[in-house]
């Protein structure tokens, strides 16, 4: 006996639907495999993994969370870019505008700021998790090194963003920070000059930090993450007990 066609059946049976969803409902192993393999985003995963790799108390989700915060930061960051003006005379005013007259502006700014702090913490703790489970051991040495670079980029992303509000907090924190860099033996003065583009923090500094913050460093991070995730797959998935 033929079952009556429901609306859902019609939709999922239509040519339009089937043109972009190429698997049935994932309640069979076959469809569960297809859903992972045929979706560009899910395809970051293998189709099946070791049971221990799904245990939350092994990874504490820290790597995934770091990545997720990066995504949140990218999205809220783009929204902020619509309003923020990287000019030493207008930056502070645009911050005030974002907080007081842009719809959900204050919320976007807060989410961006707290996620940025959260990402520094979670990347750091992720490193500790990887260390304490011995997950850097061969064949994962190289991915550990990529991770250390990601840690550095994460610090730099946070640091370059710190100047943008152009308030007292930003200005003096970056003064202290760039002075620390300027204390480097031999190359210190040059480092300081390159970072600031001037003898003190000025418009040239702001545009340098802005460019680093909104395009160069995010691209560098995305590039390194691509390598990082690819290496996890190539090294046989995440580590586990022998």
């Amino acid at each position: 006996m033929r079952r009556e066609q429901t609306l859902a059946d019609r939709i999922t049976g239509s040519a339009l639907w089937r043109s972009f969803v190429r698997h049935g409902y994932p309640d069979t192993q076959r469809n569960q495999a297809l859903i992972i393999a045929s979706n560009v985003f899910l395809h970051i995963h293998p189709v099946k993994i070791k049971r221990y790799a799904t245990k939350v108390t092994y990874t504490f989700c820290l790597g995934g969370l770091s990545f997720f915060m990066f995504l949140v930061l990218t999205m809220t960051g783009i929204l902020l870019m619509f309003y923020y003006i990287p000019s030493s005379t207008q930056a502070y005013q645009s911050m005030l505008d974002i907080q007081s007259s842009v719809t959900f502006g204050q919320l976007m700014r807060n989410m961006h700021r707290w996620a940025a702090q959260g990402m520094v913490i979670s990347v750091f703790l992720h490193m500790a998790r990887v260390f304490y489970t011995g997950s850097y051991k061969p064949p994962r040495e190289f991915n550990w090194v990529v991770g250390v670079l990601l840690l550095v980029v994460t610090f730099l992303l946070s640091f370059s963003g710190y100047l943008l509000p152009w308030d007292q907090l930003a200005y003096w924190a970056i003064t202290v920070g760039t002075n620390i860099g300027g204390a480097a033996p031999i190359i210190g003065p040059q480092v300081n000059k390159i970072l600031l583009g001037d003898f003190q923090i000025a418009q040239s500094t702001l545009i340098r930090f802005y460019t680093l913050h909104v395009i160069f460093l995010p691209l560098a991070a995305a590039f390194l993450m691509a390598v990082h995730f690819w290496r996890i797959r190539k090294d046989g998935g995440i580590s586990g007990p022998l």
Binding site: R30, A33, I36, A37, L42, H45, P46, V47, K48, I49, K50, R51, Y52, T54, C61, G64, L65, F68, Q99, Q106, L107, R109, N110, A115, Q117, V120, F124, Y132, T133, G134, S135, Y136, K137, P138, R140, E141, W144, V145, V152, S158, F159, Y162, W166, D167, Q168, L169, A170, Y171, W172, A173, T175, V176, G177, I180, A183, A184, P185, I201, S239, L242
Partner: protein, 265 residues
């Protein structure tokens, strides 16, 4: 044999006269389906959909909810417009660099701000090239001995770092416990000899003592010595950060957190 077809990675126990490719083709013929269908699960395996995807989805939702709640409740700080002529006291770097700023109070700026962090990062990156034994992978702290070493190194580092900061503060901040200033006054030592060389020695001594004690008590493997050192780094990072964020007030003098003006966040 069925087991073999499902796990193509395994070596064939008895290849016999038929070569591997042919054997697999034959198997395929016999069983009437493709080799190694992606859905053939071994005992210790699960499907990513749903087993892993569900964990990711739930943690993403939980995390978003927490971030959202925090952002509704607490505003990010925005002080007065930047004013180059008005230096706040104290001026502080972003919190995750305050550990370096704390070091800066006690030694040469180049040593504290550049050399120490560079050496630390390079040393961390080099760990896998020193510790190559696969023993203990996937076990938090490697073993119960490893976990005891973590506990010991944690307590040791807290006591030593807090102790050193307080003693240096008491004797005279940046005088290398008075030794540096004595060398300058009596032997004509330069800033370089005290702020860089002597300070480096002062930092290395507790590290060697840590390794010495761990060696004496625990008879550690190389991995376990590295665990002690990494723990020392990790704890020191956070203890110094705590000092920088919460205990440094006017003129970078030690104060209680509740007496601090808002200078970081």
């Amino acid at each position: 044999m069925a087991e073999l077809a499902e796990r193509p990675g395994l070596p064939a126990p008895t290849p016999g006269s038929i070569d591997e490719a042919k054997r697999q083709k034959l198997l395929e013929l016999v069983r009437g389906r493709a080799l190694a269908r992606p859905t053939d699960l071994a005992e210790d395996e699960v499907m990513v959909w749903p087993s892993l995807v569900v964990v990711e989805a739930v943690s993403a939702v939980v995390f978003t909810a927490i971030l959202f709640a925090l952002s509704v409740l607490v505003n990010g700080p925005l002080l007065d417009r930047a004013n180059p002529n008005q230096t706040p006291n104290p001026s502080k770097a972003p919190w995750y660099f305050l550990n370096l700023q704390e070091l800066l109070l006690h030694m040469d700026a180049g040593l504290a701000g550049v050399i120490v962090p560079t050496v630390a990062l390079v040393a961390i990156a080099a760990i896998p090239y020193f510790d190559r034994s696969p023993l203990g992978v996937g076990i938090l702290g490697t073993s119960s001995k490893g976990r005891r070493i973590i506990a010991f190194a944690t307590v040791y580092s807290i006591v030593v770092v807090v102790g050193m900061i307080l003693v240096d503060e008491k004797i005279g901040r940046g005088t290398q416990f008075g030794i540096g200033s004595y060398m300058m006054d009596h032997w004509g030592a330069t800033e370089f000899m005290t702020g860089v060389i002597l300070s480096t020695i002062i930092m290395l001594i507790p590290i060697f003592i840590l390794v010495g004690i761990v060696k004496a008590i625990f008879r550690p493997t190389r991995r376990e010595i590295i665990i002690a050192l990494f723990t020392g780094f990790f704890v020191t990072y956070w203890v110094l950060t705590m000092f920088g964020t919460s205990f440094r007030g006017h003129g970078q003098d030690l104060t209680w957190p509740w007496n601090l003006p808002l200078t970081h966040g």
